[in-house]
């Protein structure tokens, strides 16, 4: 077959040139044809829908920009017939909507909190930024402390009894350090004397509760012979515990952790007590977006650890722990937030002993935190259930303890799966913060409502403009959170799907 193959004249030897696609399939025309006018009925629908969108878009644009009043200093500019949005009103009140009744010369403190928060949050949210662990620690521990001091003015009155209690807790921790360093069995053997002293101290302490009429007045709230004796015994136990750890390698590490923990705890108390010379600002003077953010951030920060604990409790094998978690979660999830807030407002004062009282904002914060932690627990439980059993079994086969298994193997995977769910519950928590206005806290919505009733600016458009602005602020926060969750969902898709 050396010769070239014979081809008939009627067989084509070259490919025909490619024709361009039909004009109705490409470009704007093709898109319009495929998406708007595929059939006649669909075309009519498109025309109606397009007209509706144009009409609405024009209405909003006209109201918000073209017929809107842009300058003026009282209601006259806005009360005109056919006038649109009343922007001068928003301009004159905007600062109040952000800061509430926070003293004007102190607003820089709020600004610093906003700036530090944003500066710490942005790198936290960007997956490419390094040092996530330190960033998270700053956001969860240092930042709340900074804002607490800046916003309230610090200089909290921490009684000497408070410090005594902290020292007792630290001494107790020191007593138990040998148990951590040597393991339970050996630890008990090596530190029998210290444990015995501490145990006796605890008994004395408990006895002082029984003798005194109220816990706060005998044991936790102030000095009493019982609590001082208990502190002495427990402290002695702690010293013995520390002595046992001399020289051992793991002992040195346990020592170091204990020292760091003590320094942080006492340091925090001292910082809270320290007088920075800031003018104290009552929480009743806070308001507007500031309160909305404080409530939302507190709820978010508190709900994550509480939610993780509750979710673990619900999945636990221990019947009492499980029952407790289920009852707690279902009880909070079964009732509306507003009844929880009412409860925090009217019942919490009844639950607390004489003389102990939280202010209004604090009570609402407690209610919001407990409520959102129940929702968070259910989200995280979903993630825990999604982790295959093999992961748990592999971790146990490696000899990891329960907490190591959870913190190193299960939770990192489970939390990753439920990031969208977590962000969703952040969004609903952020929207739910508006409910605190019903128990008389001046959040953004409440302050906007109040100021739109001002006689100086009374016009048909005042309320609309005020609510439009507030809605826009809420929308920006919630929408960006939901976009971020979509972004993370895509990024974390590590290809488990087949």
């Amino acid at each position: 077959m050396g010769s070239a193959p014979k081809t008939s004249a009627y067989l084509r030897t070259e490919e025909a040139p490619l024709l361009p696609p039909p004009i109705s399939m490409v470009g704007i025309q093709g898109w319009v044809l495929a998406n708007l006018f595929p059939t006649i009925g669909n075309g009519i629908v498109s025309i109606v829908a397009g007209a509706f969108l144009l009409w609405m878009g024009w209405g909003i644009l006209d109201w918000a920009i073209f017929s809107a009043a842009w300058s003026g200093d009282n209601r006259e500019v806005c009360a005109a017939e056919g006038a649109g949005a009343c922007w001068p009103f928003v301009q004159s009140r905007f600062a109040q909507w952000i800061y509430g009744f926070y003293p004007i010369d102190q607003r820089w403190r709020v600004n610093i909190c906003f700036i530090i928060g944003a500066a710490a949050l942005v790198p936290m949210l960007m997956p490419s930024m390094p040092h996530k662990k330190w960033n998270a620690l700053f956001l969860l521990i240092a930042y709340p402390l900074i804002t607490l001091i800046l916003l309230t003015g610090g200089h909290f009155s921490i009684t000497p009894a408070g410090f005594l209690n902290a020292v007792i807790i630290l001494a107790l921790a020191a007593t138990f350090l040998p148990l951590l360093a040597f393991g339970i069995e050996e630890g008990i053997q090596s530190n029998r004397f210290g444990l015995g002293l501490a145990g006796f101290g605890i008994l004395v302490w408990l006895a002082s509760f029984v003798i005194g009429s109220s816990v706060w007045h005998s044991g936790l709230g102030s000095f009493s012979p019982g609590s001082i004796a208990a502190a002495v015994f427990i402290g002695a136990g702690g010293i013995f515990g520390i002595i046992q750890l001399r020289g051992t390698g793991s002992g040195a590490q346990a020592w170091r952790n204990w020292l760091i923990g003590s320094a942080v705890l006492l340091g925090l108390m001292l910082i809270l007590k320290f007088d920075f010379g800031l003018e104290p600002v009552e929480t009743s003077q806070w308001g507007g977006l500031l309160v909305t953010l404080v409530v939302a951030v507190t709820g978010i920060v508190a709900s994550l650890p509480l939610g993780i604990l509750l979710a673990l409790g619900r999945r636990s094998n221990m019947p009492i722990v499980k029952t407790f978690s289920v009852v707690f979660i279902e009880a909070w999830r079964g009732v509306p937030l507003i009844t929880v807030l009412f409860m925090a407002a009217v019942m919490l004062p009844l639950f607390l002993p004489e003389g102990v009282n939280f202010d209004k904002l604090m009570r609402a914060l407690i209610g919001v935190a407990l409520f959102s932690s129940a929702y968070m627990a259910e989200v995280i439980r979903g993630g825990l259930q999604a982790i295959p059993r093999g992961q748990y079994e592999a971790a146990q086969a490696l000899g990891l303890s329960y907490w190591k298994m959870m913190s190193l193997i299960v939770l990192p995977q489970a939390l990753k799966i439920v990031i969208p769910g977590i962000v969703n519950s952040f969004i609903s928590l952020f929207k739910d913060t508006t409910l605190v206005s019903i128990v008389g806290i001046f959040d953004l919505l409440q302050i906007v409502t109040t100021s739109s009733n001002d006689a100086k600016w009374a016009s048909p458009q005042t309320g609309t403009t005020a609510y439009f602005t507030a809605a826009l602020i809420f929308w920006i926060f919630c929408f960006s959170m939901s976009r971020y969750s979509v972004f993370m969902e895509r990024r974390l898709e590590t290809g488990h799907r087949r």
Partner: protein, 394 residues
């Protein structure tokens, strides 16, 4: 040899490391802590209540309330008791929730299906609706409906008049009241008969389809029966229904019945807000049905209508219904926001009673019991439903 087998049978675990003993210790500790807090709370509450001279117990429910409700399904005057006020409030909660659930489902399914439309504009409108409504707090929307939209309606004198029967003003929607005369029970009886008939018809149609493969349009027939039979019954009784029309007199309407603006605002806000969530559930549910199902149905020769109705929707419903039920529950719980605009639901009347009597513990307990039993009933129903609808696999 026995020593070895013993060691295999029961590994020696020290007392302190035995997981059983540890778990018992942890649980006892938890019980002690919880018990301690419970004791402290109860003790403090009793001390505080005695100090403020507040009697505990539910006797206050029999006392005369001394306030009026702007809307009540049962007869309620200011001489009625606190207990009756709470019942009226609870009925109002049920009323607004059930109508709200109906409207939200209707709107939500419409928007959800629009979101899947091939038409880009229709799809965009649905997306715009969902992304706007979902990201703005419900309370703010409620204030807008109540304080801006309904307040800007004209007063009763300039009310929007719809064929002299319906008058929409800032006092609410006035509309004719139906008065049932002698023999109206015949219409009701006919309605009951129609419903029973539809159930029987449906059973028969299904049986026939299972046996012969022939279908029967029982949905259309059923709707016709439900509409026609009561009318027939009333005609037999000599049309004993009359209407009481609202008439403008002085500064407000007399006669007829009125839907108060608080109710309208709450209802619209709840329906519109919940619909945006339902729409997303519906979209996700329909998209979750694999495309192979549609293709298989097409291959069997089903047209697009029956494909959707008989193949896609039944499978999508399995996915849609559990989150849908939790949205219904959310709507019911969110109806407690009524307190912000003054609609007398359970929480709002409870709040008034609380302010008058100071019985905080009892009122909060009633709230919690009512809402908890509502949500536990729903979740019980959902568990039953999930067990029933679960895919039966080999």
């Amino acid at each position: 040899m026995t020593a070895v087998s013993d060691a295999y049978a029961r590994p020696k675990v020290s007392f302190w490391n035995d997981p059983k003993i540890r778990s018992i210790a942890v649980q006892v500790l938890l019980l002690l802590v919880v018990g301690f807090f419970a004791y402290e709370i109860v003790d403090n509450t009793i001390t505080n209540l005695t100090k403020r001279n507040i009697a505990t117990g539910f006797e206050f429910l029999n006392k005369s309330a001394g306030f009026d409700l702007i809307q009540s399904l049962v007869v309620f005057t200011s001489e009625s008791s606190y207990g009756q006020a709470l019942i009226a409030g609870f009925l109002n909660t049920l009323l607004v929730s059930s109508i709200g659930i109906f409207l939200a489902t209707l709107l939500g399914f419409t928007i959800g299906i629009m979101r899947l439309s091939r038409n880009w504009l229709v799809r965009s409108i649905a997306t715009l609706y969902i992304e706007t409504i979902r990201n703005v707090p419900l309370l703010l929307q409620m204030f807008v409906w109540y304080g801006v939209v309904l307040k800007s309606l004209p007063g009763p004198r300039q009310a929007i008049n719809i064929s002299d029967m319906f008058f929409l003003s800032n006092r609410g929607l006035n509309m004719p009241d139906t008065i049932y005369g002698e023999g109206a029970w015949l219409g009701l009886a006919a309605l009951a008969a129609a419903i029973a008939g539809v159930i029987v018809l449906r059973g028969w149609a299904r049986q026939r389809q299972a046996a012969t493969g022939q279908t029967f349009p029982y949905v259309l027939t059923g709707i016709a029966m439900i509409l026609a039979l009561p009318v027939l019954g009333l005609l037999v009784a000599g049309w004993p229904i009359t209407f009481d029309y609202p008439v403008l007199g002085g500064f407000n309407f007399t006669g007829g019945t009125v839907i108060i603006p608080e109710f309208m605002a709450l209802l619209v806000a709840l329906s519109v807000y919940t619909a945006s969530f339902i729409a997303e559930i519906v979209r996700a549910g329909i998209q979750a049905v694999s495309h192979g199902q549609t293709e298989a149905a097409n291959a069997l020769g089903l047209r697009s209508g029956p494909t959707t109705r008989l193949v896609v929707i039944p499978q999508a419903m399995r996915i849609i219904i559990p989150p849908l039920a939790s949205q219904y529950l959310n709507l019911t719980k969110n109806s407690s926001l009524a307190v912000a605009i003054g609609y007398p639901d359970l929480v709002a009347t409870g709040g008034t009673v609380l302010n008058q009597t100071g019985q905080a513990v009892e009122i909060v307990m009633i709230w919690m019991i009512v809402y908890l039993s509502l949500s536990l009933t729903t979740s019980g129903f959902m568990n039953w439903f999930n067990a029933r609808m679960r895919l039966v696999e080999r």
